[in-house]
Amino acid sequence: MSEVVSFTFPVEAGKVREFAKAVMDDDNPVYWDAEYARAKGFKAPIVPPTFVQASAFWRPPLPGAAQRDLRRVLHGEQEFEYRHPIYVGDVLTVTTRLAKQFEKTGRRGGTMKFTVYETTYTNQDGQVCVIARSTTIETGQEVQD
């Protein structure tokens, strides 16, 4: 499968700090104080480990996701490979491709459809910063515990 969506995501200071604060009141200055970040060896404030997920709000519809019923979709698994720091002020090119789709029979019967998306976050200098893989599970019926 090779369906791909791509878009640009600017790493804005306000969004980064808001995201860090929303996750457990994380007020670590490495995410917003340029001087503190420099003293820690970074050229600018960096972003929390899961920050890139905030770009999903900007993303055009994903291939294969249009028909999904949100009541029946679960986030099954998430993976990040960190290759290069992301700095506040970077402009990321975000490219998501449909990597894999497969089905399994659930323990309680019913078919579960797995979809794996792979997203690459590349900075303005062409450096790949993060590669993310996200697995969503669509159940045959409304999700039951």
């Binding site: 929303a22 480990p49 905030a54 009541r71 986030h75 720091p85 409304e142 999700v143």
Partner: protein
């Protein structure tokens, strides 16, 4: 970790832009077969990430993976844990490898996964 509040879930929805109504709209969540709204998997991953960066230091994570195995509900108290499984040299860095998991107040696992991080060099 303190008990998870609905406000925290809504705050995360706003900050991340994930407005799937199953995480903030009680009626929608119930129609979908849930008792109430529940936390985004990525909020749990963010909380685990915060624990990890407090532990290994800023900018040192190299790999981070979680499976979301059970939902986290409002008022749950979740404990996040990392268990070191290996230390090795990789690409000129000292790498620490750990298994990760979290449990709620009933001992039910909410997430499980693994991570790799670079250890700061001793001078």
């Amino acid at each position: 970790m303190p008990r998870l509040s609905r406000t925290q879930i809504v705050r995360y929805a706003g900050a991340s832009g994930d407005f799937n109504p199953i995480h903030h709209d009680e009626k929608f969540a119930i129609r979908a077969g849930n008792e109430t709204v529940f936390a985004h998997g990525m909020l749990s991953m963010g909380l685990m990430g915060k624990m990890l960066t407090d532990w290994v230091g800023d900018g040192n994570l190299r790999y981070f993976r979680l499976r979301f195995v059970n939902r986290v509900w409002p008022l749950d108290t979740v404990t996040y844990r990392a268990v070191v499984t290996d230390k090795r040299e990789e690409n000129g860095e000292s790498i620490i490898v750990a298994d990760l998991y979290a449990e709620n107040q009933y001992g039910i696992r909410t997430v499980e996964g693994s991570m790799r991080a670079a250890l700061p060099r001793r001078p």
